[in-house]
Symmetry: C2
Subunit: 330 residues, 2 copies
Amino acid sequence: MTVTLADVAQACGLSPSTVSRALSDPGRVSAQTRDKVARVAREMGYTPNRVARSLSMGRTGTIGLIVPDVANPFFPPIIKAVQARAARKDLVVVLADTDERAADELDRARVLSKQVDGLIMVSPRSPEPRIAEIGRLGPTVFVNRHVPEHPSVLIDNADGMRQAVEHLVALGHRHIGYLAGPRRSWSNQQRHAAITEACAQLGAELVTFGPFEPQVQAGVQAADLLQGSQATAVIAYDDLIALGVMARMSERGLSVGRDLSVMGIDDSPLSGMAYPTLTSIHVPGAEAGATAVDLLLDVLDGMHGEPPPPLVELETYLVVRSSTGPAPRR
Amino acid sequence: MTVTLADVAQACGLSPSTVSRALSDPGRVSAQTRDKVARVAREMGYTPNRVARSLSMGRTGTIGLIVPDVANPFFPPIIKAVQARAARKDLVVVLADTDERAADELDRARVLSKQVDGLIMVSPRSPEPRIAEIGRLGPTVFVNRHVPEHPSVLIDNADGMRQAVEHLVALGHRHIGYLAGPRRSWSNQQRHAAITEACAQLGAELVTFGPFEPQVQAGVQAADLLQGSQATAVIAYDDLIALGVMARMSERGLSVGRDLSVMGIDDSPLSGMAYPTLTSIHVPGAEAGATAVDLLLDVLDGMHGEPPPPLVELETYLVVRSSTGPAPRR
DNA sequence: AAACCGTGCGCAACCGCTTGCGCTAGCGTT
DNA sequence: AACGCTAGCGCAAGCGGTTGCGCACGGTTT
């Protein structure tokens, strides 16, 4: 049925070993042999069996990618970038979605780890010890979470949050709300801390609400909690929540950008399409994904000198749109 | 380092074959043996090597999923559903993104086909012969494209389009525009044909523009092409294009829903968040994804009776929001 | 008591490819 | 002319499981 290396070898009157070398490591065989093998292989329609190769080489040519929620618009660009970068390195990527269930992360990682060369964990929600266990499963790089002893690509949340607060303060806002993300989210912790600090330094008062799931629906709830608050501006943990807030506000007849300023984080493609367009902190997801692949490959290829675990931090920047405006007089 | 079946066997004083059976097919060994093996395996931290198993069984426990663009919001729900359904069947999914390049589909499919049990091709753009070739690579189910001799899950575009046109005609529109999707897109052809027919039957005049890529930016261009047209309402190939049109119209000071009615197709999560909210034809992406997995499994498991290639057609329905309204008087 | 049978395991081949090592032949040295 | 070296291949042993077949043993039939 399917043509194997042995078949080609027989057709060429050579041994399988030679054919193998001719195909994968030309230069170790004579020029004629190489050409002949190449020709016969093509004629016979030979395609190497990747599984067999994996078994004997101990390398699968596959990387695992685990994300909390494929449907959250923050992740697709990352997934896409990982896929693209991996593809050009002749790797395939297996994808797992934990549906925001932290408990599933370890399980999924366990399953995948047995058939991939390395793992990329994006925005993992698991508690510290469990994360460590995941790290022990095999070469792993973390995105959006700092894990000691492991390469990670992080977002410079501190800087982004500072820009956000500066922007609001410049517009005259003195009472700012933060709509927190999942309690277990590392980036939520980062963002919260950074905002707190920025507010303190810039003389704004901060009120925190939440935690909220990163979903539009949660933003809708959040909007109602804002009712009794002093806040004239809110920063949401992510664009989804921000969109929910805006939708609900508009529904209640309030004008976002005038009566209330709303900022998102991620600058997902949505932000430009919403109404009003959403001011957001741009987070370079695609870049993060590509970088993660690079780091992983560094670990896989260069088992040399054991360089200190690389830690890449990506810059963010503020994108001002129309959901933020001058603080209303009271 | 890593503990293998042989290690466990030795520790138990048994042969590898027995251990293998004890683990995968209890019932073929005595109760005591089964328990002992299970215990020792656990103690030693044995985890089967999936690659080795794949090689000897000829089954990888992996399915391939190829989509045109992960970043297009229509696809993530499908991906998520496929992943979820596969996971509960103990399958992992490898994902490939062709970035809307039809030419890449066959290549990616070739690569994946060698390490998966089956393939799911979502909205493939390749021309007929190439599709056939993909189908020959191994068990394949197609989503959003009808491929004879292969299981496919389709969207009942005809019905959806008819609903769309009926809606517009009921609002008094007599000149309708269709913003076509990629020429090679099967669903674009379907939709175009269905709209054409519906317009003919319902007495509306149809003008087609495009083709356009399924991107917001393309919608922006499309909006400008609409300028000189008679059309008082447009149906876009997908939500993205529709959103682009709306954005551009608003920018030009026109009121979508009054001056011009706009409809999308897909009813992606975006539609509810846009401004104005987008009337759209709901396409059950998640359901399609899950169904595709089921069909694929049918093919893989039941090599029995060779039932006629199943063809599942999913229903669509109209979701009226505020981007469509009565036709303006002229 | 002899023939018979089912249960529980082990043997060994195999899945398809990679790779360390050894052999051979042809070449250049001295 | 005898010898060492190297380029080019083949042998065979894995990689870690699965599985058809046969064997031994204790227990039933007659």
